[in-house]
Symmetry: D2
Subunit: 278 residues, 4 copies
C-alpha cells in the first residue's frame, strides 16, 4: 500500500515530553502588539478594555484546561501553570504550548467585540506565541511568578510616569525617555506626585499587580500532609479521577489583582500549589 | 531591584532551535474535531464548506508567512513547509509551531461565518494543535507530502464507501464497518460502483487529493544551477531581502487539488522546493 | 581564509546543558561485560577482585571530580551524582558523560594489573558507556539510589541461589533457571539455607549492598537551615571557591557497603546531599 | 517488591536518539592536554610519537566500530564519522559518544608505552571528552571535514613559525606571539623561509594535513546509482548483514595524510561516503 512506502517519515518526529515532576509554565505573548495597540488606539499607559479582554480570555482557558492550577497575566502576556504532576497530553511540549496558545487566541478574537464594540477586528488578527518552561521546585516556580509580577510593577511605574510626562506634561516621547534615564522607583514616584499630583499607591491594583486566576475551593476541606505541606487528593481510580475532573469544572474561577510575591496569598490558598498525595 | 532577585528563573528556558539545513514542517491538527463535526452537522463523507474554510484559512497563513514555501491540507489537518534555509524566529521550534497554529486558529474562527452563515460559532471554539518536524533531505520531505496525500486518498476511499453503505445502503455504522474490514482498494471501488453507481475516479479532486497551496511565480525567470537543480535567488543584502519579501508578498497564492506523489507537479514548479543560491 | 568558509558547520552543534536545579546522575555501565567475565574467568556469583577494581576506579574518579557528592556502584555499573547546583562544564550533558566515562575507563584499565596480576589485559579493552539523567528533587534522587541498591539485592539473591544450584547442586544453568522461575525472596532464602546451608544474611555486605563512595567531613561543623535541612557553605567569592575546592580535595574518600534505602545513612551524613546556601 | 516502588525513576531518562538520515560525527578532544604535553615533554611544534599514538588508537577504534566510515584527526582531537544510515545503538547520542570516547581513551592509555617506552604513564591518566554532531547533507559533512583540516593547517603553520622563532630564533614566547599578531599565511611562510630556511611546503604531510583513516575496498566492485552517486550494498537480510559486517572487519584500514578539502580524495574513494541502496 502506498502509505507504507512513505510511512517511514513518521520516524523523524522527535519525542518532546517535558521532564516529570517539574512545574510547567506555558507563557503566551501577543505577537506584534505594539502595532495592534496603535491600530486600535489603546489608551496609555494602560487600556482597561484590553486588559479585561486578556483576563476574560484567560479565564476561559483556565476553565477549559482543568490541569491548569494558576494563571498570571499582565500587559499582553499570560502564564498558565500546570501542576508538577500533570499528565495532560503526556506532557508533550509542542502539544501543550499550541493547545494553550490557540485556545487563548480563539478566545481573544471571539470575545473582542464584547470589549471593543465600536472597533471591528480586522486582519491581521491578534495572535499569541507560546512556549513551555519547566521549573523543578515549587520555590522556583514561586520565583517565576514573582519575576513576572515584579516586571509588571516596574513597567507600570515607568509607563505611568512616562505617559504622564507626555500626555499631561507636554513632553515629547524622546524628551520623556531622556528624562527618565537612570531614575529609580523613588524618583518616578516623586515625579508623579510633585508634577502630576498622582499618588502611585492609589493606582488601580489591576495595573500595579496584574491578574491572577485560579480555581477557588474556599469551602473545600484540604488536609495537611505530615511534611507540613498542604495536600489535595491525587485520585488514582478512574471513578475518582472523573469525580475530581467534575469538581474542578464546577470550581469557582477566581480572578484577582493581588500581591503574589509575599506569603499572604499562598498561605491563604495553600491548595493552589499543593503537593498531590501519591 | 526586585527583578534581579527573580530574574535567574529565565535560565530555565531551554534553547529549542531546529537543526540548520532541514526542511521544517509545521503540521496542525483540529482538536476534538469529531465532536465539532457532529455539533455543526458536517456533511459525510466530506463537508465542502468545512474544507473550503480550511483552505481559506491556510491561504491567509501562507500569505502572512512568506517563509512558507508550500502547504498541504486534507481533512482537519494542514502542513506548512518552511524552506530548509529558513531563518524565521531563529528556527525556534515553539515559536514556529505556536505562531502558525494561532494564526490558523484565528483565521478559522474569524472566517467561519463566511462559510457557515447559518450556524453561529459557539464555545468551545475550534482550535488546532501543532508541532514541528525536521526533514534533512528534499527527497524525504517529498515523501512526507506523499505520505499525507496517500493518507488522504486511503481515508477518502474508505469514508466514501462507508458513508454510501450507511446513508444510501441503509446499513448501520457497525454493519458497514464490519463489511469493510479486510477489504482492499479494488473491493471498495467495486462496492461503490456496483452497489451505488459511483465511479470513484469521478469524485471531486479536492476530496481525493486534498489541497496544495504555494506561491506561484509562473512568469518569473528561474535559473538552473550546475547540479541540474532549480535555484532561486537567496538574497543577502538588506535591500535584496526586502525586495524578495515584497516579491513574495505580491506572488499569486495558488490553491490546487493535484497529484503530488508523482513528478509532474514538481517538474512544473521547480522553484517551489528549489535550493537557494548561497 | 579557508577556515571562515567552512566555519559555519560549527552552528550544527546543538546546546545540551542540563536543566538547572536538578541532581545529575552519570551512570556508567560495562560494555560487553558478559564476555569479559568469561574471558577472565570471573568468579560466580561475585568476583571480589572485579568489584574491588570497580571501587578503586570509582574512588579515583570521585577524588578527581570534586563536584561529585556521592557515587554508588554494583556489578559492572557505577552512578556518579553531581549536586543539583553543580556548574561543572556548564552542565553540558555530553561533556559530563564522556569525562566521567573516560576517566573511569582509564582507571579500570590502568589499575587492572593490580587486581588481576596473573591475567594480563588484552584487547578488546574494557570500556564503559554512560549517560546523564536529571532528578528534580532530592527525594527522587534518593529513590534513584534506592532503586539501584534494591536492584543489587535482587540480582545478588538470585545469582547467589542460581550459582549455588549450579556449582554446588550440580544443576545445569537451564535447570537452575527453570527451578527459580516464579520464586520470591523467601523461596530463595529457603533454598539457600536448606539445600546449601547458606544464611543469606551472613553474605558479605559488598555483595548485598553494593558500594557507596562519598567525601567524608565527619569532623566538620555543618549548620542546619531553618527548613530543617542541613546546609553547607555555597561559596561565592573566588577565594572561597578555591578554599572549598581544596577542602574537598583533602576530604577523606569514604568507601562503604551500607544500607542506603532507609534513613540511617542520610541522617548520619546530612551534608552529603545538603542544600547549598544561596 | 522494593524494585517496583522505586522503578518509576527510570522514567526520568530522556530519549536522545539522533535524527535519522543525518551523518553523525563523534568528535573527541584530549582533556587538559596542554598540561599533559608539558608533563611528558612533547616536542614542539609537533610530537611525532604523540601523533602516532593518536593514530594508532584511532585505527583500533575504526576497526572495532564497523559503522564508522571515516575518521579524521589532528593535534589531540579525532572525528569519527558514522554513515547517515547508521543504526548503531539506535543512534542514541550519549551511548555513541561515550562508547567511542572510552574506546579511544582505553587505546591511548594501553598503547602509550609502545610510543613512549621511556616515560611511564602516571595519573591523571589521559582522557578525552566527546560529543555527537549531526550533519544533514554529505556536502555539509564534507565541509566539516574541510573545516577540521583547514584548522590543522592554520594551527600548524602558526605553531611551526612560533616555535621556530622561540627555539631557533631565541625569542621569548611573548615576543613571538607579539611578532605574529596580524600576520597572514604569506607572512609566516616568508618568516620561516627567510629567517629559518624552512620551506613550509616541505614539512611532513602528517603535520600539515592531519590523518584520515578509512576502510579501503580498493579491489571491490562498487556500482554507480542512476543519480551518478556511488552506491554500496545496503544489505537487508540478516545473512547479508552478517556478510557485510565480516567484509568490513576484513577490510584494510587505510591511514593517510592527504588533502581532503579538494575533490581528488573523494573521487578516488567514492564508496567512503556512498549512499546506501535502499
Amino acid at each position: 500500500m502506498a502509505n507504507s512506502e512513505f510511512g517511514y517519515v513518521r520516524n523523524f518526529e522527535q519525542p518532546d515530553a517535558l521532564s516529570l515532576s517539574n512545574w510547567i509554565v506555558v507563557r503566551i505573548d501577543g505577537r506584534g502588539f505594539t502595532k495592534l495597540c496603535k491600530k486600535y488606539d489603546f489608551a496609555k499607559p494602560n487600556d482597561r478594555r484590553a486588559l479585561d479582554l486578556m483576563n476574560a480570555a484567560a479565564s476561559e482557558v483556565v476553565k477549559a484546561f482543568v490541569d491548569v492550577v494558576l494563571a498570571y497575566g499582565q500587559s499582553d502576556e499570560y502564564s498558565f501553570i500546570f501542576h508538577e504532576s500533570a499528565a495532560l497530553f503526556d506532557r508533550r511540549s509542542a502539544k501543550l504550548a499550541t493547545s494553550i496558545a490557540t485556545a487563548f487566541t480563539a478566545e481573544y478574537c471571539m470575545q473582542w467585540s464584547s470589549f471593543f464594540p465600536d472597533q471591528p477586528l480586522v486582519r491581521p488578527w491578534p495572535t499569541f506565541d507560546g512556549r513551555c518552561v519547566c521549573y523543578p521546585k515549587r520555590k522556583i516556580l514561586r520565583d517565576y511568578i514573582s519575576w513576572r509580577q515584579a516586571d509588571c510593577h516596574i513597567n507600570n511605574l515607568y509607563n505611568t510616569t512616562f505617559w504622564s510626562m507626555v500626555l499631561k506634561g507636554g513632553m515629547s516621547p524622546t524628551e520623556a525617555e531622556h528624562a527618565l534615564k537612570g531614575t529609580v522607583s523613588a524618583n518616578k514616584n516623586e515625579i508623579l506626585f510633585s508634577r502630576f499630583g498622582i499618588n502611585y499607591n492609589n493606582e488601580p491594583l489591576i495595573y500595579k499587580k496584574g491578574t491572577v486566576i485560579y480555581r477557588s475551593y474556599e469551602g473545600d476541606a484540604v488536609t495537611n500532609g505530615e511534611s507540613g505541606e498542604a495536600r489535595v487528593a491525587d485520585p488514582t481510580s478512574k471513578t475518582q479521577m472523573e469525580k475530581e475532573r467534575k469538581r474542578k469544572l464546577k470550581a469557582v474561577i477566581a480572578v484577582e489583582h493581588v500581591n503574589l510575591i509575599g506569603e499572604a496569598f499562598w498561605e491563604a490558598h495553600p491548595y493552589v500549589l499543593a503537593t498531590k498525595r501519591k
